[in-house]
Amino acid sequence: MALYSEKVMDHFNNPRNVGVIEDADGVGEVGNAKCGDIMKIYLKIDGDIISDVKFKTFGCGSAIASSSMATELIKGKPLSQALELTNKAVAEALDGLPAHKMHCSVLAEEAIRSAIKDYYDKNGIEYDKTRFPDPHEEEEHHFEDD
């Protein structure tokens, strides 16, 4: 058995939405180089719709695949739907991740939230602050794992 599912390897080998959006409406960056994972997500917002999304990730195979899959799952979707995206949904869409790699899917969820928060902040849009905990303030990554 391989370490990763075929879907993970497909998204690792042919990552979707790689790149930078120069005039992005929201940018989210989570993780740090020390831990070996940095995920940066760029959003272009049209009305309430995510019209374009790009990412750059420094990290392992599952971090890259999680970024790729997460961007696919929110592209063309309303912000409200993107905010509902859970790490579990990202992992499931990849046909699962090894238990010790689940934190990569958490980073993807956090990166998207962080980019949306950035968009809200830049545009003075009111939002429920309790829904955007600062990931850096958390002692450890919390994630759903079954």
Partner: protein, 396 residues
């Protein structure tokens, strides 16, 4: 697809010699060496011949060789035994280095819980320690010095002879984990003043699950597996006869070919190192001169090791990395951190370990594929973007 195996520090392919030596002892000569009838005694004779051959390769006495299940068991037994015998005389201090194999470090951590005091010597950025460091750390209550012969990740060869001299002068037992050295570079337990040494067969084209512990005559060696009188009461359990005989054959062959193999390996290794260092922002880890003939370990800034490995695996190249993501922990290799590399650099390491089975074509192929993999990983890396734009300063 072309396949290039370049992870010989992890394990090696068994040689034909080792396989052929083993075969009769799996089939015709299956007797238990402890049985008195002829079929058992034939196995016993072969076992003792293997012991003699291994002793010869190390310049040890035949009675100083004990068979074990491998390097980890040998390390455990040597360290626990020396600690227990030291403690009986009130000596509870042990000296080691911060970049030993986990078979040594985890054993020492356990001993610390039961009262041992361990000094972890700092490793210099070149991956070496000095005999002087050992000398300065020795105390009247030092029960053991354990320093690896050659490091498994960065391949640096420690000044074992000088360390041995220091220990001998101070009357402190000296153990060395020589799993990466035996069969690759000359090891002479007498000239090197080694009291205990661990070795593992599968690192020199022998089988997995078998190794040996050398323990100098006169030094007490405690048993940790109780049961029978095998290995002169130091290690119970019916001997892995086929494995032991195969190990002896593999070691004999490795020692006979050592000079020609290492000449070949040095050429391949140095061409590989020089070729890989042409990649911008790359750095060789560990001293180049005092280095195992087959070891290459390089960091590529802005990359993450597992991504590199997956890309190389796609190209049929088997290698390894000190990246956190290749293990279950979030910490990168303790060896690279011990050399003083920052975490973010240690994550981007690639280890290629060659054997004499590798060819010039293999090196050409690796030199074609690694730069592609690095380029691909950097192209998608946000960290590389920050380095390239100057937002984060280059370390390499």
């Amino acid at each position: 697809m072309k396949t290039v195996y370049a992870d010989n520090a992890a394990t090696t392919a068994m040689s034909d010699t080792a396989i052929n030596a083993m075969a009769p002892y799996l089939k015709e000569v299956f007797g238990n060496p402890s049985s008195l009838y002829a079929a058992g005694q034939v196995a016993k004779d072969a076992l003792e011949k293997a012991r003699f051959e291994i002793a010869q390769c190390l310049n040890a006495d035949v009675k100083e060789i004990y068979f074990t299940s491998g390097g980890s068991e040998s390390d455990n037994q040597a360290i626990r035994s020396a600690a227990a015998n030291g403690a009986r005389k009130g000596k509870r201090h042990i000296i080691t280095t911060s970049f030993e194999h986990h078979a040594v470090l985890h054993t020492l951590k356990k001993l610390e819980q039961s009262g041992a005091e361990v000094t972890y010597l700092d490793v210099h950025s070149d991956g070496l320690i000095t005999a002087r460091q050992v000398e300065e750390a020795i105390r009247p209550d030092t029960a053991l010095v354990t320093v690896m012969y050659a490091n498994n990740e960065v391949g640096t060869i420690q000044p074992v002879r000088e360390i041995g001299e220091v220990c001998r002068r101070a009357g402190v037992p000296f153990h060395t984990d020589a799993v990466q050295a035996v069969g690759h570079i000359p090891v002479d337990v007498k000239a090197d003043h080694i009291d205990m040494l661990s070795l593992s067969a599968h690192k020199f084209h022998g089988p997995k699950g078998v190794g040996a512990l050398y323990c100098k005559r006169g030094l007490p060696l405690n048993s940790f597996i109780e049961g029978g009188a095998q290995e002169r009461n130091r290690r119970a359990g019916t001997e892995n006869v086929a494995g032991i005989i195969s190990m002896a054959a593999a070691l004999k062959e490795a020692c006979a070919n050592m000079r020609t193999d290492s000449e070949k390996l040095l050429k391949l290794r140095d061409r590989l190192i020089d070729g890989l260092l042409t990649i911008p922002h790359s750095k060789l880890n560990g001293d180049r001169k005092n280095r195992l003939p087959g070891n290459v370990n390089i960091c590529f800034e802005g990359t993450e090791g597992e991504s590199l490995l997956l890309n190389l695996d796609n190209a049929g190249i088997c290698a390894s990395s000190g990246s956190a993501c290749t293990t279950a922990s979030l910490e990168p290799s303790h060896v690279l951190l011990a050399l003083g590399l920052p975490h973010e650099i240690a994550h981007g390491s690639l280890r290629l370990t060659l054997s004499a089975d590798n060819t010039d074509e293999d090196i050409d192929y690796i030199l074609k594929e690694v730069p592609e993999a690095v380029k691909k990983v950097r192209a998608i890396s946000s960290f590389w973007d920050d380095l390239a734009s100057g937002k984060t300063k280059h370390f390499i």
